[in-house]
């Protein structure tokens, strides 16, 4: 157990040493989105009944930050270790594939969660946000950052160069997170785009998370929960299989 704790701790220290870049910068970016979008769109976009647009935006921006940073932590750490060769320090140890998985994922969840809390703490200074269920909020934040941490591991294991990882981030993670209902309720979309949004797993992360604040959501909270749990499960099984096989790590 101490081995996996050490990996977890090392990964946390790693991102914390550059917290300006890994925590503060995404918090500031989310706040800039909040300032600009709330200024331009407040009163123009209909969201949930009785919820003003700026308040609606905050959980979306929090979850977008959680998603992107949880993914960034595990993926960037793995690719850097692979490219610089220091991954060997881990591969020479008795840590099992499960322990490697837990260490990387737990640290990425911590980063996603930290950035999410950072966005919330500064955003509530700007606008009041109700809290319907703290358990749902924390549960979805943890599960969603778990999904993205695991996805980051897959990307980090698969990528051999930084530009491959950047492609994963720019062509998969960014579009899926921007088109998941961060800035709007999918009920405001034409039927075709509504249907398409239901195929985006990120939508369920944000919708369920938002339910924790407003007690309202685009789809039933139970469905969002099941989709996110299923995503964690399927991606974790895939990642553990990759780690066990030594894919792109052990020749």
């Amino acid at each position: 157990m101490y081995g996996v704790y050490t990996l977890f701790y090392k990964e946390v220290v790693r991102f914390w040493k550059v917290a300006f870049q890994t925590v503060l910068a995404p918090v500031i970016t989310a706040l800039l989105y909040l300032l600009v979008f709330s200024h331009v769109l407040e009163g123009r976009v209909r969201v949930f009944e009785g919820v003003n647009y700026t308040a609606f935006l905050i959980p979306g921006l929090m979850m977008m930050s959680v998603i992107q940073n949880a993914f960034a932590n595990s993926s960037s750490s793995l690719i850097q270790s692979k490219v610089t060769g220091n991954i060997v320090f881990l591969l020479l140890t008795p840590l099992s594939h499960l322990e490697l998985f837990v260490g990387y994922v737990a640290a990425a969840v911590v980063r996603g969660f930290t950035v999410g809390v950072g966005v919330f703490l500064l955003a509530v200074l700007y606008v009041k946000v109700p809290v319907h269920s703290i358990a749902v909020i924390i549960g979805f934040a943890l599960l969603s950052s778990g999904v993205m941490a695991v996805m980051g591991m897959i990307a980090g294991i698969w990528a051999e160069k930084f530009d491959q990882l950047a492609a994963f981030q720019n062509f998969i993670i960014m579009p899926l997170s921007f088109l998941s209902g961060v800035f709007y309720s999918i009920h405001s979309l034409p039927p075709f785009w509504q249907t398409l949004s239901h195929l985006n797993p990120f939508f369920y992360m944000i919708d369920g998370f938002r339910y924790g604040f407003f007690g309202q959501s685009d789809v039933a909270i139970e469905i969002s929960f099941l989709v996110v749990v299923a995503a964690v499960f399927v991606l974790s099984v895939m990642t553990l299989a990759l780690l066990k096989s030594g894919y792109k790590l052990r020749v």
Binding site: T6, V13, N86, T93, V251
Partner: protein
């Protein structure tokens, strides 16, 4: 039954696409040995080490460390092995002490190991760099941290893959002293090196790999005895002008009043060669016989020369 071997390599095969990197390598290394693994570039030394360390998975065959299987009992074998990788790798996020503490932590060792880390820092001349970021270290210091990381969990078997590649003479000497000390303290040492002089000075037993196969596996003295030639240096009081045919074919070079003859140990008796020299009218004022060194044996076995630098 004797003591369990430190390392057992049993008919090991590894292919990388069309390259057959290891072709049934098969030998063992006893506990407490100082073992040299030599071979030209691409001979399969690093592949073999990496199979042992679990970084490369063999296609067939078996590898064990102190009796434990490297694949199925990797938790045991990795605790028993300390591997110093060939590449100068480091994590730029951390300081020297952090790098050592994290490495110990992966092996389940916490604060109770800090005294050993302090000792390693002192022994490796890194004590004053303990809080320096890895990026700020010189190449030699990074190499020493790598050695520290390999030893941080006190493994009985230490594998050093080209530890002195690209390091200056002074550091090489100090690394040799340190490795000798580890050996005298009971560690089994497995050393791969390009510097044949290094293997000749340090190793008790040597395997020479060539194109993925072990072409020799002997003690250093046996291996040196395999040298089929020796050199006879002769100094005359007069300039050496001509030689009879039987001597000319053995002459490597003639320079004024001295010459070097290459003699086959199995055919050329030194006494009869000296008689032939006298018969040719050359008076001898001095002779010196030089036995072949490991490098010469290595060249005979592999057809290549090592990087004999100093």
């Amino acid at each position: 039954m004797g003591q369990t071997a430190a390392v057992t390599i049993d008919k090991l095969h590894k292919r990388f696409g069309s390259l057959h990197a290891l072709k049934g390598v098969d030998f063992s290394i006893e506990q407490g040995e100082f073992f040299g693994l030599l071979g030209p570039n691409g001979a399969g030394k690093s592949t073999l080490i990496n199979c042992l360390a679990g970084l490369v998975r063999p296609d067939s065959g078996r590898l064990s460390v102190m009796g434990y299987d490297v694949v199925t009992e990797y938790r045991h074998t990795r605790r028993l092995l300390g591997v110093v990788p060939q590449e100068l790798v480091y994590d730029p996020f951390f300081e020297v002490r952090e790098a050592l503490q994290f490495q110990a932590g992966y092996f389940g060792l916490g604060k109770e190991n800090n005294d050993w880390i302090d000792e390693l820092l002192v022994t490796l001349n890194l004590a004053d760099r303990a809080t320096t970021n890895m990026r700020a270290l010189s190449g030699g210091m990074k190499r020493r941290v790598l050695i520290g990381q390999a030893l941080v969990h006190k493994p009985p078997v230490v594998v050093l893959d080209e530890p002195t590649a690209g390091v200056d003479v002074e550091l090489r000497q100090s690394l040799w002293r340190f490795i000798k000390r580890l050996h005298s303290e009971g560690h089994t040492i497995v050393l791969t090196t390009h510097y044949l002089e290094e293997a000749e000075n340090l190793c008790e037993r040597i395997a020479i790999l060539d194109h993925g196969a072990a072409v020799a596996l002997e003690t250093k003295s046996e291996l040196l005895a395999r040298g089929i030639c020796r050199s006879l240096h002769v100094v005359s009081s007069h300039k050496i002008e001509t030689l009879p045919d039987q001597l000319r074919e053995k002459a490597r070079h003639i320079n004024g009043n001295s010459m070097e003859l290459r003699l086959r140990k199995d055919k050329d008796s030194i006494v009869s060669v000296l008689d032939a020299i006298r018969d040719a009218g050359i008076d001898i004022v001095d002779i010196q016989v030089v036995e072949d060194r490991l490098e010469d044996v290595f060249v005979q076995l592999t057809g290549e020369g090592g990087g004999r630098e100093s």
